[in-house]
Symmetry: C2
Subunit: 234 residues, 2 copies
DNA sequence: ACATAAATATGTTATACAACAAGTAGCTTT
DNA sequence: AAAGCTACTTGTTGTATAACATATTTATGT
């Protein structure tokens, strides 16, 4: 299931901040003792549809995509994870096996925390419980919103939305315009529910309309307002 | 925002079973004291997109749909509620206003529990916290699954799936074949992400293929296996 | 009972998008 | 440098489904 595994010193106090904040020193100790760090290379599989969920994961470095294999070989990217974000716990709490796949977009470092340890901590600390309730509630709202966007918007709207999403999630490079994540056209298509051909075609159209610019593999957002408008209109 | 409001005696111990089970007598008392019962008539609005969430709701009797207003006047039914199911709490826990609308399909009786009371109980009872974590996790899985079904399946597959969903959720009448929920063709279309015309057309096709039968407004499932097959193939 | 509105039904047209095909550019490997 | 592979690109065709139009049937109100 996994490639590399290796323990190393990490600064829990900063990197696991969100959860960390609600824990006391004793609880933090428990986490420290049971956590492991794993690194994944580009395109490395983190977990697989059908696997039994055992660990909660916190992405420390890198970028991760959560995706589902759909009908006729099609793939839909459900969610993307950025550093200091937790994932991999939904299936466990729902008493299910994983319904999604997770893989690393880029070389990534992930902290693995056994879910039974997390469960114990939840029973002892209502603030931690509330953290999960809030997180799941937020994600459920996003997922419902996404259903509408993917079913009701047209190709241009869906692609524009994906580009804005990538900007908001992973930010821009020093020039203040270039997306700091590189996705293959195929991944971009899988994120936006369209074929690779149409992702390419629509990107070209956007470039011709001077909404974006493409320097080789990199995408620069030229006219964000227009992009938002395209996303809004559908 | 609301039409009717009226207090009446209800049997909490049976009707609120799921949550009830994890509470002690004192906590149950708190719930009893603060709960109100409201009745809604057919098509009555329960809450509205943008409203501030104040109460968690438990549907005691009737049927409720949760839906979103989408692009260009289109509507998507996100979720349907059956008796003794809780809803209306997601937005509160995510610190958001409602992103969805809820309305009664049929005359419905709903128990309203102030969410700040629920929050207090969660802080005091980890089992209640776990109830919500499990529920939200399950719903998130369903929502992600739904995204795939609505985007990747064809019209026939989506409609077949909706019919099976209605059967599983609300069951059949005494004849063991007739769906015990009545949806307008428009609602059925909004549930399946298609136009009303196409919902009608596809129903007619199914009837011609002897997969279902239509007695006026009622829909009878004749060949469930075939329906499952249609749903699976997309 | 009648009028009017709403829901259901069916046919026709328009179009967004997938599917397919064929080619090019940018790499890695030998 | 040639060969091969993969990702990207562009054009063409086919089709699923929305949009529109118009009956017809069924509710609803006065």
């Amino acid at each position: 299931m996994v490639k590399q595994q290796r323990k190393e010193e990490i600064d829990f106090s900063s990197s696991l901040a969100e959860v960390w904040r609600v824990l006391n020193e004793n609880e933090r100790d428990i986490l420290r003792k049971h956590s492991t760090i794993r690194t994944f290379k580009r395109n490395g599989l983190i977990y697989y549809q059908g696997d039994e969920p055992k660990d909660m994961m916190c992405l420390l470095k890198g970028k991760v995509k959560i995706y589902k294999d759909g009908i006729g070989g099609r793939t839909q990217i459900i969610r993307m994870i950025k550093p200091i974000q937790y994932f991999g716990y939904r299936a466990f709490f729902a008493h299910e096996n994983y319904l999604t796949n997770a893989s690393a977009f880029e070389p990534s470092t992930i902290c693995m925390i056994p879910l039974n340890i997390v469960t114990d901590l939840i029973y002892g600390n209502p603030n931690l419980a509330m953290f999960f309730i809030r997180q799941l509630s937020t994600d459920l709202g996003i997922s419902d919103e996404r259903t509408i966007n993917l079913t009701q918007k047209h190709i241009r709207g869906r692609l524009a939305e994906s580009l804005l999403f990538l900007k908001d999630s992973y930010g821009l490079e020093a020039d203040g315009a270039t997306l700091s994540i590189y996705l293959s056209r195929e991944d971009l298509a899988n994120l936006s529910n369209m074929t690779t051909s149409n992702a390419i075609r629509t990107l070209t159209t956007f470039a011709n309309e001077h909404v974006i610019a493409m320097d080789g593999k990199k995408i620069r957002i030229i006219n964000e307002e227009r992009l938002k408008q395209i996303s809004r209109l559908g």
